[in-house]
């Protein structure tokens, strides 16, 4: 496909998506699209952290959960405006990512994955037990926090759309920047990158913090949308796993992989989950196994190689 044409198509799709809520579609359809946008956002963040560097983060939900809690606390207890809250959510997540990322990103392979998983689970347990242990009423433990009622789905449609566009934009910018080359070099051969003068730790931590920032923002957005959160909901390890699977399906380390993977899987989920809840998960399992065995580069990656050869 010529470059100009594909750019035209992209612009048309974007414009189309902007006017969808005005087109009289059902509330359900708007909600589904908004959900897809937010999944693309989350998967995009995971892809920046893990797809580009090859460091598999099993604890990404930790930052999403932190973001949800920051927004929930700010809005319910501090009556802070929504946009300020989600921004603070992002900043808090990113600033926690710094001390967590510095030691863990020195670990290799499986050790990094386990350490991040331990981090996310520890966060969940701490929020669950903090109030009881300290004798206060702050995080409300397993009872969760209720946020003020939010506006209609159209609002979250546009917020989700905006966040998604920013994440995709940043992923695109990273891919083409010097920073992106450094990350790819880390993925391919970390020691060689280090010898060529790439400050590997610094670059890895930077990618990790960017991912954490937007995961925090998205956590805040979804907390407001859900209006009620508990530690079990927002620190659910299955959220991380969805991000991993969507990235893998679409193609890790590609800009549009998360778009394809998240759209596809969220749609499959909507079609199957209500009527066949177990079947959906079993099918996802089979999809993962088949994709891993037959096209480990994901949908976008496989298409790219097919086109080239």
């Amino acid at each position: 496909m010529p470059k100009k044409l594909s750019r035209m198509i992209l612009i048309l799709i974007t414009m189309g998506l902007l006017i969808v809520p005005l087109g009289g579609f059902s509330e359900y359809f708007i909600r589904l699209l908004a959900m897809i946008f937010l999944w693309i956002g989350k998967t995009g963040c995971w892809n920046i952290i893990s797809g580009y560097t090859g460091y598999i983060d099993f604890g990404a939900v930790g930052y999403y959960g932190i973001g949800s809690y920051v927004t929930a606390l700010l809005m319910s207890k501090g009556h802070t405006p929504f946009l300020v809250s989600i921004l603070v959510s992002g900043l808090v997540s990113a600033s926690i990512a710094l001390p967590i990322g510095l030691p863990t990103l020195r670990l290799r392979g499986a050790y990094f994955g386990i350490a991040t998983l331990a981090f996310a689970e520890a966060m969940k347990q701490i929020i669950l037990e903090f109030d009881k242990t300290a004798g206060v009423n702050f995080f409300e433990g397993p009872h969760g926090i209720t946020l003020p009622m939010g506006p209609k789905n159209e609002f979250f449609y546009y917020i989700g759309f905006g966040v998604m566009m920013v994440v995709i934009g940043i992923a695109y910018w990273i891919k083409r920047s010097k920073f992106g080359y450094a990350l790819r070099a880390i993925h391919e051969a970390e020691q060689a990158a280090e010898l060529s003068g790439v400050d590997t730790l610094r670059n890895k931590v930077k990618a990790y913090m960017i991912g954490a920032f937007f995961l925090g923002v998205i956590g805040g957005v979804e907390a407001y949308w859900l209006t009620y959160i508990t530690p079990h909901m927002v620190f659910d390890v299955l959220i991380t796993i969805q991000m991993v699977v969507m990235s893998l399906l679409g193609g890790m380390g590609t800009v549009f992989g998360p778009v394809v993977g998240a759209s596809f899987l969220t749609t499959v989920y909507e079609l199957l989950h209500r009527d066949f809840p177990y079947t959906y998960t079993i099918i996802v399992g089979f999809i993962i196994v088949v994709v891993v065995l037959l096209m480990p580069k994901g949908i976008v990656g496989t298409l790219k190689t097919k086109v080239k050869t």
């Binding site: 290799r108 689970e121 037990e129 079947t279 399992g285 993962i288 065995l293």
Partner: protein
């Protein structure tokens, strides 16, 4: 003082349970470098095998242990031979995802067939304890502890005293050289996975006699196995015993003296600190990538 000793005892017995199902995880990682996310499902399958045989035919759970061993051996052998062997040379990421896919398939198929009901295997001796100077020791847990010791000793014997064990060790150390020496690597991988699955299934059988079992129990077992194996040292088999004991005792003492909910938080904080400071485990004999 009695409270402390009882709590210590509970921790040691819990540690034995942890060790019994974590040794296989360590073995599989040590030889193939595969982090097996469906490890907990093998515990679940062993437990459900025992449950059904006990419920349908009233056969004592302890007599089903050999059956669990053989069934899970065949299961592990086949799944490695025909599925995981295809990606064993790929980057580790690929094998996590593959085993994660298998985890979803097994856990949710089991959920579809057996429903989410909580089940227990209650035998005539389920509540029976030994009482030594006021310290209570449940027999079933003691049996698991003994099993954990036998498993670790058995693996040690297998790895160091038999021909196959030497081939497994050679493969773990350098698979290319092992291949040059005429070792059939793929066969060795399949056998290793089979053995790992078999001992895990046995642990599952025993666990069904004192813990609640349900189809989705697996993931939490996998996570504990992670912790145990990291504490003891990845790939170092006796480490599973040390890791299990440390984790069991820490959890039991926290639950007694602080608060039961905190023991979960403490587990993960301990794991996190361990990984940062000493990724080779308490004894420093684990494998580091």
């Amino acid at each position: 003082m009695l409270l402390f000793l009882q709590s210590l005892m509970n921790g040691i017995l819990l540690g034995g349970i942890y060790a019994s199902y974590s040794a296989g995880f360590s073995l599989i990682f040590g030889v193939m470098g595969v982090i097996n996310i469906f490890h907990g499902e093998m515990v679940m399958l062993g437990a459900f095998l025992t449950y059904w045989i006990f419920t349908l035919f009233h056969i004592d759970p302890f007599l089903t242990v050999p059956l669990s061993f053989f069934s899970l051996f065949i299961f592990g052998y086949l799944i490695q031979r025909f599925v995981i062997n295809r990606v064993v040379e790929a980057p580790p990421m690929i094998s996590y995802l593959l085993t994660f896919g298998i985890h979803l398939i097994i856990a949710y198929t089991a959920l579809g067939i057996w429903t989410a009901d909580f089940r227990t295997v209650t035998t005539g001796y389920s509540g029976m304890n030994a009482n030594i100077g006021g310290i209570i020791i449940p027999y079933a847990r003691l049996a698991t502890f003994v099993l954990a010791l036998i498993v670790v000793a058995g693996l040690y014997f297998l790895l160091y005293k038999t021909e196959i064990g030497r081939a497994i060790q050679a493969t773990a150390q350098d698979k290319e050289i092992a291949r040059l020496m005429g070792v059939n690597i793929r066969q060795i991988y399949a056998i290793t996975f089979g053995v790992g699955a078999a001992i895990t299934g046995m642990a599952g059988s025993l666990i069904s006699t004192y813990f609640i079992i349900f189809p989705q129990m697996g993931l939490s077992y996998t996570i504990i196995a992670f912790c145990v194996v990291v504490l003891g040292g990845m790939g170092y088999i006796p480490g599973a015993l040390w890791g299990g004991l440390i984790l069991g005792v820490v959890q039991s003492l926290t639950a007694t003296y602080l608060n039961a909910g905190l023991s979960g938080a403490l587990t993960f904080i301990l794991l996190f600190i361990m990984l940062i400071l000493r990724p080779t485990g308490i004894l420093g004999k684990g494998i580091v990538e």
